[in-house]
């Protein structure tokens, strides 16, 4: 099955729940199979199937709860905060702090979390991310910059024991 491990990993990050993630992956494959005739050959399959998973999640009970409380596109008109490299290198290098990074990712709002995961874990291009989330590339860049800044701040706070 193509992208099975990646889709499950992404689903877990979105849902924070094993059973929900499993159902989400299963439903994604079912939908992808059903809708495969609509997939245009030559277009990006990875972006297509990740978009199915994300949309399925957003219409699930957990997804709807999140979208009702936060706006996924709230960052579009906000200016990008200056990038900061305040996070100590040691924190990022030491494997013992992997858990701290994971916790920091978990604490990110969904729109930041997904864009960071797609870029740095799935190593998608900005174009692929734009197709997956259905937003313009410019928005991908600004959201990514804000997400990373937020992550750095969280990590710095955690490192300082805050």
């Amino acid at each position: 099955m193509p992208l099975f491990d990646s889709l499950y990993n992404f689903a877990r990050w979105l849902t924070h729940n094993r059973e929900e993630a499993e159902d989400l992956v299963q439903e994604t494959y079912a939908k992808a199979l059903k809708g495969f005739p609509s997939f245009l050959p030559g277009t990006n399959f990875r972006a297509w199937i990740f978009r199915i998973l994300r949309n399925t999640f957003l219409t699930s009970r957990t997804g709807l709860k999140i979208t009702m409380t936060t706006s996924l596109d709230s960052d579009e008109n906000e200016s990008v905060a200056p990038a900061t490299t305040e996070t100590p290198e040691s924190l990022l290098i030491e494997r013992s702090n992997q858990k701290m990074v994971q916790e920091a990712i978990e604490e990110l709002p969904l729109n930041f979390r997904e864009v960071i995961l797609l870029c740095d874990v799935e190593e998608m291009s900005y174009q692929e991310i734009a197709e997956t989330i259905s937003i313009p590339i410019g928005t991908v860049m600004s959201r990514l910059a804000r997400a990373r800044s937020a992550l750095r701040r969280t990590l710095t706070k955690k490192l300082q024991g805050g």
Partner: protein, 250 residues
């Protein structure tokens, strides 16, 4: 912090999202700008840390099986290609087996024809080619009674170019049978009649062929196998065979 000119480009550079020209220009800038280089290092380290931390969850084998069960199996295409070599091999075995059987039968047939030709020649070369000398079919036929385990009919040859010269007991595959000698012109034809135990060697009931320059015709009638062999032409052999066939059916 990156210098003002390059701010915003550092992340795109770390994500390899700049155009080739921009990447080259940024590379040159980084060689002389400690601030941007430090910024790039921070971005790269963060990316690496996110990548490592982000690959966190692995699906269970149960989920994999569950999802696989919901997917349609490529049964038709797979089964076709799966069976192709098996069917091919089976067909090849059948064909080879058939060819081997044909070859074996042909070789067995040749052996029988050679043996019959020997019997024919040996009889003609003998000072007593036949044990019962008679041109009368009603004398020749009863002579075989008690000598061979079957009986047969002989045709009336009065209005034909053939003459019956007599008969003798002959053996093929240790089985007794009748050898009848007919004359047409200066040619002699031996007709052998045996119980039909040679079917595996003679797949078709009737056949004509030429063996060792002798013409041979063979057929079955009333569960008996007939062979007509001689140096007469094939047409005469066939005529005599037809007379014997008709006599057997009467």
């Amino acid at each position: 912090m990156a210098c003002d000119l390059r701010r915003g480009k550092i992340e795109a550079y770390a994500d390899a999202e700049l155009s080739a020209d921009e990447m080259r220009a940024m590379g040159e800038h980084l060689r002389g700008c400690a601030s941007c280089t430090s910024d790039l290092l921070g971005h790269t380290q963060l990316k690496r840390a996110i990548h490592t931390a982000g690959e966190r969850f692995s699906p269970s084998s149960t989920l994999r099986e569950r999802v696989e069960k919901t997917l349609p199996r490529r049964r038709s295409a797979k089964s076709v290609w799966y069976w192709v070599p098996i069917l091919g091999a089976t067909a090849a075995i059948i064909v080879l087996g058939f060819l081997a059987l044909q070859r074996w039968s042909a070789s067995q047939r040749e052996q029988v024809y050679a043996e019959l030709a020997d019997l024919h020649v040996a009889a003609l070369a003998s000072s007593n080619p036949v044990d019962i000398i008679s041109t009368d079919r009603h004398t020749v036929k009863p002579w075989f009674q008690g000598r061979i385990p079957f009986t047969f009919n002989l045709p009336e040859l009065a209005s034909t170019p053939f003459t019956l010269e007599g008969g003798r007991v002959s053996y093929l595959d240790q089985s007794p049978g009748a050898q009848l000698i007919f004359k047409i012109g200066n040619h002699r034809i031996s007709v052998f009649i045996f119980q039909n135990r040679l079917d595996r060697r003679f797949t078709s009931s009737d056949s004509q062929s030429k063996r060792l320059t002798f013409n041979v015709e063979t057929w079955t009638e009333n569960d008996l196998r007939y062979f007509a062999i001689g140096d007469a032409n094939a047409e005469d052999i066939h005529k005599l065979s037809e007379l014997l066939r008709n006599a057997a059916r009467s």
